[in-house]
């Protein structure tokens, strides 16, 4: 799975995610990627999120939208919201994976409970940050 979250100079947000799914999948199995609110979500008033992981858990938890809801209704920071959903709720349920997110003010966050996630981020005027392992 690949994904991106973006804030442009006008302050608008977008999220995009794409995947081939899981090896040897059967029955037309679909994961969280195309489920709006699970693997992909963006709202200028809250945040934008793109997810990767065991899709079934991300669908059940509505991960992407849940993170944005925690920011909006509970007043959590973007990182706090991401960690609450990924490190606590997803992990407790037995799910694996991670997310990237951006807030309306350009704050970036990522959170994953696996040993690695191919990831990169950059803010205008700053050096890029690229990571693989935890």
């Amino acid at each position: 799975t690949v994904g991106v979250v973006v804030r442009d100079r006008a302050g608008h947000l977008a999220a995009a995610t794409s995947t081939g799914g899981t090896t040897a999948k059967l029955w037309g199995r679909v994961g969280d990627v195309p489920i709006i609110g699970a693997g992909t979500y963006a709202n200028d008033e809250s945040c934008a999120v793109s997810a990767t992981g065991t899709g079934e858990y991300f669908i059940r938890l509505g991960v992407a939208r849940e993170i944005c809801n925690l920011v909006t209704y509970k007043g959590l920071s973007l990182q706090q919201a991401a960690d609450e959903v990924i490190q606590k709720r997803l992990t407790a349920l037995g799910g694996d994976g991670g997310i990237i997110a951006v807030a309306p003010d350009g704050t970036l966050a990522w959170s994953f409970n696996t040993s690695g996630m191919y990831r990169a981020r950059q803010s205008e005027g700053q050096a890029p940050v690229i990571g693989i392992f935890r």
């Binding site: 799975t1 690949v2 994904g3 991106v4 979250v5 973006v6 804030r7 100079r9 608008h12 947000l13 977008a14 999220a15 995009a16 995610t17 794409s18 995947t19 081939g20 799914g21 899981t22 090896t23 040897a24 999948k25 037309g28 679909v30 994961g31 990627v33 195309p34 489920i35 709006i36 693997g39 992909t40 963006a42 934008a48 990767t52 992981g53 065991t54 694996d96 994976g97 991670g98 990237i100 951006v102 350009g106 704050t107 970036l108 966050a109 696996t114 040993s115 690695g116 996630m117 191919y118 990831r119 990169a120 981020r121 950059q122 803010s123 205008e124 005027g125 690229i130 693989i132 392992f133």
Partner: protein, 190 residues
Amino acid sequence: SGWALAIHGGAGVMDRETMSADTQAAYRAALQAALDKGASVLNQGGSALDAAENVVRTLEDDPLFNAGRGAVFTAAGRNELDAAIMDGATVKAGAVAGITGTRNPISLARAVMEKSPHVMLIGAGAETFGQQNGVEQAAPAWFFTERRWQSLKRTLAERGLPVPARPPGVGPEPVPVAKTDQMPEDRKFG
């Protein structure tokens, strides 16, 4: 007040001890290239939506990642691709699933968002919509990589399931299969 973007290329079991330096370098270079694409759009005043689509298209075309070219195979030996895009400004969204013949599923998802009254289209209907709206098509051979095919064979063998025929246009299995195409999946999910 400036732009910001973050990218991911999948999460899972990644072993620092066993992932070769060359592999790490390849992924880092690919992620940098995707960042550069997004930054280029944004530095020219482009929209978050345009940057998002362009970044994902770059990653879909890179066979390292499980999306577009280089995607994993179904048990039947096909690539079935899913994608979604959402515009935070309008809260409009487009999503597709079960795509087999569209080169960049993310562009098909954007077409669904902008050119249809719907949010999600799947399978053959989604592909027809894409063809009618000028979304670039691709043959099965475009998505094929030997590494993913070998991974499928190993997985099917573990499950006692038959191995399907190779997709049309990809040629016979190499003899021997390159060692780099026999590596176990470096990530398990997504």
